[in-house]
């Protein structure tokens, strides 16, 4: 098992004909992901071709869903139009919208998130690497890859990874795979201040997934999402959890001014977050090179298996 997506998930790509969207659609197809449709307004009726694959393109998400039964979307639409694309997913009743686009105005996301209140569509991102549920083939092929993460570094297994940062997620996944520890699902929730799915949402799903035996939680400075997740872990999660917070040396004042500190409270520095992790029984990686080892320590302390 896995969370959010399986190898059977039918995926459509919004912005499939753009350079970035096309490149990663090809990589997902090579990985074995069920990319069943593309959406580019005005190019409906055309096909996206790659090797033996011939993916139909539609003018609207609604048309793509009606014709192919897609339940998830990858958004590669440029920033000025990305919030519109996200809302189109929600309106078409998709289960999942993974917004890869970086640089969406914050106001657009404030409005989109408000408009999606009560919608059945789960939003992951924006500004995220996406989600990977590894498959059983060579280099984990045969799985579901939505977004821009390198598929081949994964291995099917039982560790859940959740992170705001793309390359740090890859780093953690690579460390795990190098040590023979596979992943159930790895989720990049994105680095923007307004995003859809939080650390806590993903942690809850990993906790409920019988096939996820251990969790790596990667965070960074700013906001209190990691703290919220850590407190929930302390109260509810019996699985081994390792954590890492990036940004201990980041210069103060380069993010938000005075009022930010008021709203964010004193909990948004790296030191404060690490202190909360420790207090909540999360094994902290001392350096980013230590993420997989930290999870192995956490599992050992709980007498839990990871593979």
């Amino acid at each position: 098992m896995s969370i959010i997506v399986t190898e059977k998930t039918k995926v459509l790509v919004q912005g499939i004909t753009g350079e970035f969207g096309a490149r990663h659609t090809k990589l997902s197809l090579d990985y074995g992901t069920q990319i069943v449709a593309g959406v580019t307004p005005g190019k409906g009726g055309q096909f996206f071709e790659h090797g033996t694959h011939r993916v139909p393109i539609f003018n609207t998400v609604r048309d793509a869903v009606a014709a192919t039964g897609a339940t998830a979307s990858a958004v590669f639409v440029p920033p000025p139009f990305a919030a519109d694309a996200i809302l189109e997913c929600a309106d078409a009743g998709l289960d999942l919208c993974v917004a890869i686009t970086e640089g969406i105005p914050i106001k657009d996301m404030i409005r989109a998130k408000r408009a999606m209140l009560g919608s059945k569509t789960r939003l992951i991102g924006p500004n995220c690497p996406g989600i990977v549920t590894p498959g059983t083939g060579k280099d984990s092929a045969g799985g579901c890859r939505i977004g821009i993460a390198p598929g081949y570094i994964h291995k099917k297994g039982h560790v859940g990874v959740v992170s705001r940062s793309g390359t740090l997620t890859y780093e953690a996944v690579f460390q795990l795979t190098s040590k023979g520890l596979g992943q159930s699902t790895s989720v990049g929730i994105g680095g923007d201040p307004v995003n859809g799915t939080s650390h806590l949402d993903v942690i809850k799903m990993f906790n409920d997934d019988p096939d996820t035996w251990g969790i790596i939680l990667i965070g960074e400075i700013g906001g209190n999402a990691e703290v919220e997740a850590a407190r929930w872990v302390k109260a509810n999660c019996k699985k081994p959890v390792a954590g890492f917070i990036a940004g201990a040396t980041a210069p103060a004042g380069r993010r938000m001014g005075h009022a930010g500190a008021v709203v964010g409270g004193a909990e948004d520095t790296a030191a404060a977050k690490i202190a909360v992790f420790k207090e909540c029984g999360i094994e902290c990686a001392i350096t980013p090179s230590d993420m997989a080892d930290a999870l192995i320590r956490a599992a050992k302390a709980k007498g839990a298996k990871l593979a």
Binding site: H24, L27, P79, G103, I104, P105, I106, K107, D108, I110, R111, K113, R114, A115, I148, P150, Y152, I153, S163, R164, S165, G166, T167, L168, T169, Y170, E171, F174, G191, P193, V194, I218, E220, I221, G222, G223, A225, F244, A246, A248, T249, A250, P251, R254, M256, G257, H258, A259, G260, A261, V262, V263, G264, G265, A270, I286, T287, P288, S289, D290
Partner: protein, 393 residues
């Protein structure tokens, strides 16, 4: 993107947020005409730099105070001359300080009481929040820490915008009545409109004041904008002051590199913001000190790597470089080729440690090894950090 106080106040006026009358001068020749536009003294003379703590700041020539109260216009002129083209050091500028290139004269206000008012994003609810306090003119963090009951917050529903009952509630909580109440309600509403329409990231008024004549005025103004939304606000982009930005950061932006200068001696070049931050952390963990944050992004090219090296090397403090690339999709050999080319072209004299991992890593390592250059290769982030710290020590 940040703007100056005088620019922020011009925007305030445009949106109907009351401010004391003020005129900015960008050359010494403009001082007297600017002062002539103001009513009789007293006048406040304010250095315009993108950093707080101006009032308590000191200029490099010893002149004290980046904000001065002048009893006469002659005094105001003298203060302006002392500040102009002088470098102001405040708690927020760092030891190098900032050169004052604009002076702002404002009519001095009689103050009945000082308040605090700000609008920004509340990350917990993903909605705008208005923060106000009866304790203005002081550091708001201090108020939040010592007397959190004196801070009031209103969360705005973006579907309907700020509602009348919300601004009234805020004004009542601040203890305002009569004209003060009416004027505060209007000011808060106008400030919110400005925040929302201009895609501001934060608007801060500290202090907001009441005057003996019933006015409510924004005595100071600090405004920053969401960089992601600048494409739809050419009028805001026009307010950008490149003098306030690090030239290295401006150069980096031209190559789509995200660079932030720090004060250490080990430069780093990394792909991805999270990995770049943790690379700084791991350098520090092993006893070194990072000279910068540099994210080359997900699809770095050879040109970008060369540009990044050039920018890094303009920092005279840099004694070594650590390259940390996790090439997920990006080809490690492309990075390796860029590193070799940059090292050759720039005749690099300082130690360089390169950690490559990911796509086509074997070819990348081979390119480095066969270059004939002294490039130290590392297998993990920890290995790379330990090596560069040792080489620089």
């Amino acid at each position: 993107m940040n703007i100056h106080e005088y620019q922020a106040k011009a925007l305030f006026e445009k949106y109907g947020v009351a401010v004391p009358k003020g005129v900015a001068a960008r050359t010494a020749a403009e001082f007297e005409p600017a002062l002539a536009q103001l009513p009789d003294a007293p006048v406040v003379v304010k250095s315009q730099i993108h950093a707080g703590g101006r009032g308590k700041g000191t200029f490099t020539d010893g002149f004290k105070g980046g904000v001065k109260f002048a009893k006469t216009k002659a005094d105001a002129l003298a203060y302006a001359k002392a500040m102009f083209n002088n470098t102001l050091i405040t708690a927020q500028t760092g030891p190098a300080g900032r050169k004052v290139q604009t002076v702002y004269f404002t009519q001095a206000s009689d103050i009945t009481k000082e308040y605090y008012l700000a609008i920004l994003l509340d990350r917990v609810t993903s909605r705008p929040v208005i923060v106000a306090s009866t304790e203005g003119g002081v550091e708001i963090e201090k108020v939040a820490h010592e007397t959190p009951d004196k801070i009031f917050k209103i969360i705005v529903d973006p579907a309907v915008g700020l509602q009348g009952y919300q601004t009234r509630e805020l004004a009542f909580r601040l203890g305002l009545t009569g004209d003060y109440f009416k004027n505060a309600v209007k000011l808060i509403g106008s400030l919110y409109t400005m925040f929302w329409e201009t895609d501001a990231a934060m608007v801060e008024v500290n202090p907001l004041i009441t005057t003996p004549t019933g006015s409510v005025l924004a005595l100071d103004a600090k405004v920053s904008f969401d960089d992601n939304a600048l494409f739809r606000h050419p009028e805001i982009v026009a307010l950008r002051d490149l003098n306030e930005e690090d030239p290295k950061e401006i150069e980096a932006a031209k190559f789509s590199l995200s660079y932030i200068a720090l004060d250490g001696n080990i430069a780093c070049l990394v792909n991805g913001a999270g990995l770049a931050m943790s690379t700084m952390d791991i350098i520090k963990h092993y006893g070194g000190s990072p000279a910068n944050f540099l994210d080359v992004g997900g699809g770095a090219s050879k040109d970008q790597v060369q540009a990044a090296f050039k920018i890094i090397l303009t920092d005279p403090n840099v004694k070594g470089i650590m390259v940390n690339i996790f090439g997920g999709i990006m080809d490690c050999n492309t990075i390796a080729t860029g590193v070799v080319a940059a090292t050759r072209e720039l005749g690099l004299k300082i130690p360089l440690v390169v950690r490559l991992e990911g796509n086509n890593v074997a070819a990348g390592k081979k390119t480095l090894a066969e270059s004939g250059l002294t490039i130290h290769s590392a297998d993990t982030m920890a290995d790379a950090a330990q090596k560069i710290v040792k080489l620089v020590a």
